[in-house]
Structure formats: structure tokens, C-alpha cells
């Protein structure tokens, strides 16, 4: 025993001077910094990518059994397709490095198509561009998956294919460029830390164009204007999806710091958690108070709405404001869902309310709650109404919401409108009734159960 100890100690002593010696030629502080940053960005990228799992569960859980396989499978497919399109074109539009006029650069980026990055970080880079690309790509896929909420349970598979291509080139990257890629809204100082507008509102408005052009699902609305509740087939899936998204959101928001630095990403995560908690609580309580029953779907939506809202503001506001933003989002999502139902817009998985209404609120909330100190630290825009007493930032936020919203809505309507004329958006009534699993893929996601149901109908 003692012998062994002595032996290992002397071995360590032999090694130690060697290690001390090696440190002399070791990485510089800036290199260590770069390494840590890129490690964090890749971790964040993985977390955001994992949010797709959340969307799969959310969309399947909130829809019916007969569409489960289709809903789940198409998410994976469109993430794959979006990856290729974003690599080939989307990233270039967002952040391409070609030499174009400043006037044009205000509106789109250009160059770096079929992106071929250097394989490691250059001297003085904060992170290798590859990690940045992956992180941005993950955001594009999230925005796309949000849009699918409006298409659920009735769009043709081919629509998913074509719209993925167009969304990943002319819709998402343009908005991302405006706010994050040095475009004109970025120059105005629009604050959208992790994408309440860029990712969530963009996705939600594409969903809105989709659901309006597709028309409501069969059986959603009655002739007299009342609506029916088409319950999802698995509330546990929906709840798990929210947890998965919630976890992933720490990559989404805290990852958007793109650096480890002084640990500011911890503060961002901290605010994110507060916003989500507040949204959940507010939504449950408001549904309980207004309709007499504490609604589970609303509660889940409240968690997501809190997260969506805090996404824009997580780096710009104090913790108390994060709580207020979350609370308001939770209440807002409940009434927003009611409103869309009144307007007879079928929103199968509440994308319009969760990502749209809360996205708008979160973006505007910056104009109210942002503090000058944090705005200076992040180096985007200024403090909001409460901290500075100035309406300036609120106006900028308002402008960015309206302009981005209008662009996405108009372009989505045009694109989907053309698609509707050329190829048709919706499956036939018969296909919709038997379910997209069978009509689009030839097999059910739940073969045993659905066969049984089918036999019962025929009997």
C-alpha cells in the first residue's frame, strides 16, 4: 500500500515539471476564451436543435392520433431540408460577406452561398464561424417548425417541401438580417436579444398565412359561428414538449450571448427562467378565473408564452421586469387564443397566440422595461420608457414589430397564395378524415389503435 503510494507520488512528481513546462507554449488567454465560447455555442446549438423534439411532441400531442406519424415525421424531414437550403442560400441572405452596396445591405445580405467556412477560428476571433452558422441554422429551423403549427392536420406533404425551401430563403433570413445581420433595423437599435420577433413572430405569421389560406379543419367551426374543441390526443406529450422546449430555451436565450466572457449568459438564463415561471402561473390562474376550470392547454401555452416574451428582453431587463413580462404573456396568450377562435381562425396548436401575440408583447416590452445600463452592456439600443422616460426605444420596437410582421405576412401570403393556385395546399376531404398518416405516408403512427378504430367504423 505504502509502496504503491510512494510510486504514484514520484510518478506525479516526474510529470509535474513537464506539465509546468508545457504551459509556457500553451494556449493564450484569447484562445482559451475562444475555445470556451465555441464550446458554449455548440452546446447551445445542440439545446436549440433538441427543441425540435419539443415541437414534435407539442404538435403531435395537440393533434389527433390519425395524424401523429405525419406530424412527427415531417418535422424531422423539414429540419433536414431546411439545413440544406439554409446552408446553400439562407445563410448568405442573412449574413453573406460579399461586397454589395450599403443601400442593398440594409435589406439583405449576399454571398457565402453553399457556405464553406474556415475549419478553425482566425486570430482574434471570438469563436469559429462554423459554430455561429450552426447556431443560426438551428434558429431558422425553429422558426420554420413554429410556422407548421398553422398547417397542422390538413396540408399536403408537398406543401411542407416547397414552403420549407421558400421560407428558408426569402422569409426567415431577411428578417434575421434586418435585426441581427446588420440590416436597417439593427442600425436603428431594435432590441431582440434571442428572437421574439425574428424567430417567433416570423414563424407565427407564416403560420397565420398558412391557416387562413388552408381554412379551418373539418369540424372546427359550426354553422352558427360557435367553435368545437378538437382535443389533442395526448396531453402528456404536450406537457413533455413544454418541458423540452423550456430546457432548450436556455440554449436559445443564454446561447445568444455567443460568449462565456464575464458570465452574462447566466443572467440571461436567470431572466428566462423567471419569465417562463411567471407565464405558467398567470395562464393557469387566468383560465381558472375566467372559465371556472384551470385549463391544462392554457397552462402549457402560458409557459411557452412566457418564454417567447422573455426571449427579446432577457438581456435588457431587470429580474422584476422579467416576471412582469412573463405574467402579462400568460394572460395575453389566454385571451389571444379566445380572440382567434372568435375570428374563426383555426389555430390547432396555438402558434398564433403563443409565438405571435407573446412575440409581439416581448418585443414591445423592451421599449418599456429595458434599462440603459443593460442596453449599453449588450450594446444595442437604449433604455426603455420606465428607466429613461423616453419613448424612443418603444417606438423603435414598435417599428420593428410592424415592419417585420408586415413583411412576413405579405410574403407568406403571396408565396402560399401562388402555391395554392399552382399546386393546392390542402388534402382532400376524404384524406383529411382518414388522416394524413395514411393519405401521405401509407401507414399509421399508431397502427394498432387506428386499425381498430377503422374496423369499428366499418362494422
Amino acid at each position: 500500500m505504502v509502496k504503491k503510494l510512494l510510486l504514484s507520488v514520484s510518478a506525479l512528481l516526474m510529470l509535474f515539471p513537464a506539465m509546468a513546462f508545457a504551459a509556457d507554449e500553451g494556449p493564450s488567454t484569447s484562445m482559451l476564451n475562444m475555445g470556451l465560447n465555441s464550446l458554449w455555442i455548440v452546446v447551445a446549438f445542440v439545446l436549440v436543435l433538441l427543441m425540435q423534439g419539443g415541437f414534435i411532441l407539442l404538435e403531435t400531442g395537440s393533434t389527433r392520433m390519425k395524424n401523429a406519424g405525419h406530424v412527427a415525421g415531417k418535422t424531422i424531414f423539414t429540419v433536414g431540408l431546411c439545413t440544406l437550403i439554409y446552408w446553400a442560400f439562407g445563410y448568405g441572405i442573412f449574413n453573406g460577406g460579399a461586397d454589395i452596396s450599403d443601400g442593398l445591405r440594409k435589406f439583405i445580405g449576399w454571398g457565402d452561398f453553399f457556405f464553406s467556412p474556415t475549419n478553425s477560428a482566425g486570430e482574434g476571433d471570438a469563436f469559429p464561424i462554423t459554430t455561429f452558422f450552426l447556431f443560426q441554422l438551428a434558429f431558422a429551423t425553429i422558426s420554420l417548425s413554429i410556422a407548421w403549427g398553422g398547417f397542422a392536420e390538413r396540408a399536403k406533404l408537398s406543401v411542407y417541401l416547397v414552403f420549407t425551401v421558400l421560407f428558408s430563403i426569402i422569409i426567415y433570413p431577411v428578417i434575421a438580417h434586418w435585426i441581427w445581420g446588420g440590416g436597417w433595423l439593427a442600425q436603428d437599435g431594435a432590441q431582440d436579444y434571442a428572437g421574439s420577433t425574428v424567430v417567433h413572430l416570423t414563424g407565427a405569421l407564416a403560420a397565420m398565412a398558412g391557416t387562413i389560406l388552408l381554412k379551418p379543419r373539418i369540424g372546427k367551426f359550426n354553422k352558427d359561428g360557435s367553435s368545437n374543441e378538437i382535443l389533442g390526443h395526448n396531453q402528456v406529450f404536450s406537457a413533455l414538449s413544454v418541458l423540452l422546449l423550456w430546457v432548450g430555451w436556455f440554449g436559445f436565450n443564454a446561447g445568444s450571448a455567443l460568449s462565456v466572457g464575464d458570465g452574462f449568459f447566466g443572467f440571461v438564463a436567470f431572466n428566462t427562467m423567471l419569465g417562463a415561471g411567471a407565464g405558467t402561473v398567470a395562464a393557469l390562474l387566468i383560465s381558472w378565473a375566467v372559465s371556472g376550470k384551470a385549463d391544462i392547454s392554457t397552462t402549457l401555452n402560458g409557459a411557452l408564452a412566457g418564454l417567447v416574451a422573455i426571449t427579446a428582453s432577457c438581456a435588457f431587463v431587470d429580474p422584476w421586469a422579467a416576471v412582469v413580462i412573463g405574467l402579462v404573456a400568460g394572460v395575453l396568450v389566454f385571451f389571444s387564443a379566445k380572440l382567434f377562435e372568435k375570428l374563426r381562425i383555426d389555430d390547432p396548436i396555438y402558434a398564433l397566440s403563443v409565438h405571435g401575440a407573446a412575440g409581439v408583447w416581448g418585443t414591445l416590452a423592451n421599449g418599456i422595461f429595458a434599462t440603459d445600463e443593460l442596453a449599453t452592456k449588450v450594446n444595442v439600443g437604449r433604455g426603455g420608457l420606465i428607466d429613461t422616460g423616453s419613448w424612443h426605444q418603444l417606438w423603435v420596437q414598435f417599428e420593428s414589430v410592424v415592419v417585420c410582421g408586415a413583411y412576413v405576412l405579405v410574403v407568406s401570403f403571396i408565396v402560399l397564395g401562388i402555391m395554392k393556385v399552382v399546386m393546392g395546399l390542402r388534402v382532400t376531404e376524404e384524406q383529411e378524415i382518414i388522416g394524413l398518416d395514411l393519405s401521405e405516408h401509407g401507414t399509421y403512427g399508431y397502427p394498432e389503435q387506428m386499425k381498430k378504430a377503422q374496423n369499428n367504423i366499418q362494422a
Partner: protein, 357 residues
């Protein structure tokens, strides 16, 4: 009975010779009552309507007896009583109530006799239920019907069953006990029902804790008014925008008053009578009783306005009231009534859980 038309109609019912004649009289009753719905004070309306329905049921029973006799099964071998439960028992049937019924007969002295009686009354109750179905009274979905072995049996069996329910107050048994509490003899030997009721009250004294179980059993139906004083309407489906008058207003109040009445050994089954007796017993103050009565009358009235529909010849009703049909004043009145109902529900809840736990 001053109304000549009324006594004439009752007489025709009493003289009807077959099911078809009774069915057309039932249709006549419904048409007549629907026509006077807005004119009559609500209590008078219910009294009159339930009088007609009682008469229809009595005549149906008499016809069923005669049918059995013609079929060679003879006449009732022993005295029996036909009992109405649910809204029938409370004298609160609407134009489209369903059948909730039971039957109790005297015991036989030997097993052979008992078996013969069981056979006869099983056949009789089957006939009665079928006959009433032909009159447009749908079967009770929960099978609280005299032709169900649990609800049609001899007195001794009934007593044993009641004791059993009290001894083992599982959720289902407590529900049955609450149903029994509204039982009223509509035809036959009243004293049999009175003896059932004696057993019931005797058991209540032996098992005071059951009040809590009865409360648990009924608290599920909440008064449909929200924390902001808003009506909690249906959100989805065909009835979106309507209020569930039956389960969101009427039933919670019936349940609360029944619970108070049971504890005071009040044997009336009508909710308004129970309120009056609770006031006499000093359980409710004058002003409480008055506001509860006013609210309950309103619920009785609005319940009559709930969506009616005929389904396969049955008079049916889903208890849902389209709020759009109401005037602004009526909505305000309804909200006030619901608040009163909620207050009563809370009061009963506090009393029962506080004092009797």
C-alpha cells in the same frame, strides 16, 4: 282545482283507456303548459304540470296492472308503492324530464311467496316503464328505474339495502342515498314509503359522518359564476355561449338544500317546501330563506327556457340555456341568483365540513 279546464283534463287522464289515448293527453298537457309558460307564476306552473304528470303516471300504472291481469298474472298480490325519485320526487319535473322511479312492496311470509311477488312486480314495473316511455318520458340514463332490481324490491330488502349503503358509504352508495332522499310515493301504499323513510332517518342518526360523504358527493357541481361575477358559459360545441342551468344553477341549490333538510329530518321533497321548513326550524333566517327562495324560483323558471328538443318521440332537454335569449335585466337577475346560490353552497360546505367532520 277552480280551473274547470284543469279538472276536466285531469279527469280525462284518469279515464284514458290505453297508451295511445294517454300519449295524446300528454302531448295536450305539454302544449297547454308550454302555452301558459310565460303567464303563470313559476310555482303554480310546476304544481300544475306535476299534477298532470302524476295523474299520467298513476293512470299508466293502473293500465299496466290491468294489462297484467288480462295476461293472466292476476292483480297485485300485496300492497305496493310506486316511488318517484329525482325531479319527479321533488315535484319539479319540467316539460321534458326523464323517468326516475322505484317500487316497494310488502314482504311475503315464505320464500315461495317472496319469489312470486318478485316475479309479479318485476313484470309490472317493466310494463309501467315501457308505458311511460310511450308517453314520451325517456328512461333514466343512470338506470334509476323501478324495473331495475336495485330499485324495485320488497320492503325488507329495501331496508337491508339502505342499511348496507349506510354501513358502507362508498361513492356509489352515497349517491343512491341522496336519490332515495328525494323519493315520493306517487301511487299505492304511502305507508311503505314512510317506513323506508323511517329507516333512512334512523340510519342517519346512527351514521352522522355520512353528511360529509354526501357533501363530497354533490360538491362536484359548482354554481356557474366566476370570480369576476361573469357567467361561466359553455365554450365549445353546439351549445357554445349557453349556460348549463341544470347542473350549474338548479342542481347545486337542490343539493345544498337537500343536505340541510336531511340533517333536520325534514321529509318534504320539494326544494321550496324544504326551504320553508328549514326556516320554521330556525336553520335559515327569514332573509336567507327569502333570498334562496327567490333565486330558486328564478332557476326553476329559467330551467324551463332551456333548449327543448324531441328525440325519437321523447321529450328531451339538455338543461342548457342560451344566454343570448335573455334580456339585460334577466341576465343581471340571473347573476344575482347565482351569487345567492354560490353563497348557499359555501355555507353548507362550511357547516358540513366544520361541524360534522
Amino acid at each position: 282545482m277552480s280551473d274547470p279546464h284543469r279538472s276536466q283534463l285531469l279527469q280525462s287522464i284518469g279515464n284514458a283507456v290505453d297508451a295511445d289515448a294517454l300519449r295524446s293527453l300528454r302531448d295536450h298537457v305539454n302544449a297547454r303548459m308550454a302555452a301558459v309558460l310565460s303567464e303563470l307564476p313559476v310555482e303554480q306552473f310546476y304544481t300544475e304540470l306535476n299534477e298532470y304528470y302524476d295523474a299520467l303516471i298513476r293512470r299508466s300504472i293502473a293500465l299496466a296492472e290491468a294489462d297484467l291481469a288480462r295476461a293472466g298474472m292476476g292483480f297485485p298480490p300485496v300492497p305496493y308503492a310506486y316511488i318517484l325519485f329525482g325531479s319527479g320526487g321533488r315535484g319539479e319535473q319540467t316539460l321534458s324530464s326523464d323517468q326516475d322511479s322505484g317500487l316497494v312492496y310488502d314482504d311475503g311470509s315464505s320464500p315461495e311467496e317472496a319469489e312470486a311477488y318478485r316475479h309479479y312486480f318485476a313484470e309490472l314495473s317493466k310494463q309501467i316503464v315501457i308505458l311511460l316511455e310511450r308517453l314520451g318520458f325517456p328512461r333514466c340514463e343512470g338506470n334509476v328505474l323501478s324495473d331495475h332490481p336495485e330499485w324495485g324490491m320488497s320492503l325488507a330488502q329495501w331496508v337491508e339495502q339502505l342499511n348496507g349503503w349506510f354501513d358502507e358509504p362508498a361513492w356509489e352508495s352515497v349517491r343512491q342515498l341522496l336519490i332515495v332522499a328525494d323519493g315520493r310515493c306517487v301511487y299505492g301504499a304511502d305507508d311503505l314509503v314512510a317506513r323506508l323513510r323511517d329507516t333512512f332517518n334512523h340510519d342517519m342518526l346512527k351514521h352522522p359522518v355520512i353528511v360529509q360523504r354526501m357533501l363530497d358527493n354533490t360538491m362536484r357541481h359548482k354554481v356557474l359564476i366566476g370570480v369576476f361575477g361573469q357567467l361561466l358559459k359553455e365554450q365549445y360545441g353546439e351549445d357554445a355561449g349557453s349556460l348549463d342551468m341544470k347542473y350549474g344553477a338548479y342542481i347545486p341549490m337542490v343539493n345544498a338544500i337537500r343536505l340541510l333538510a336531511i340533517r333536520q329530518d325534514i321529509r318534504s321533497t320539494s326544494t321550496l317546501k324544504r326551504m320553508a321548513e328549514l326556516r320554521e326550524a330556525g336553520i335559515l333566517t327569514e332573509s336567507e330563506a327569502e333570498s334562496y327562495e327567490r333565486a330558486f324560483r328564478l332557476f326553476l323558471k329559467l330551467r324551463l327556457m332551456a333548449t327543448e328538443k324531441q328525440e325519437m318521440g321523447m321529450y328531451a332537454n339538455n338543461g342548457k340555456l342560451t344566454v343570448r335569449k335573455l334580456t339585460r335585466d334577466m341576465i343581471a337577475e340571473l347573476k344575482e341568483g347565482l351569487r345567492v346560490g354560490q353563497r348557499l353552497q359555501r355555507r353548507v360546505f362550511k357547516q358540513a365540513s366544520g361541524r360534522f367532520r
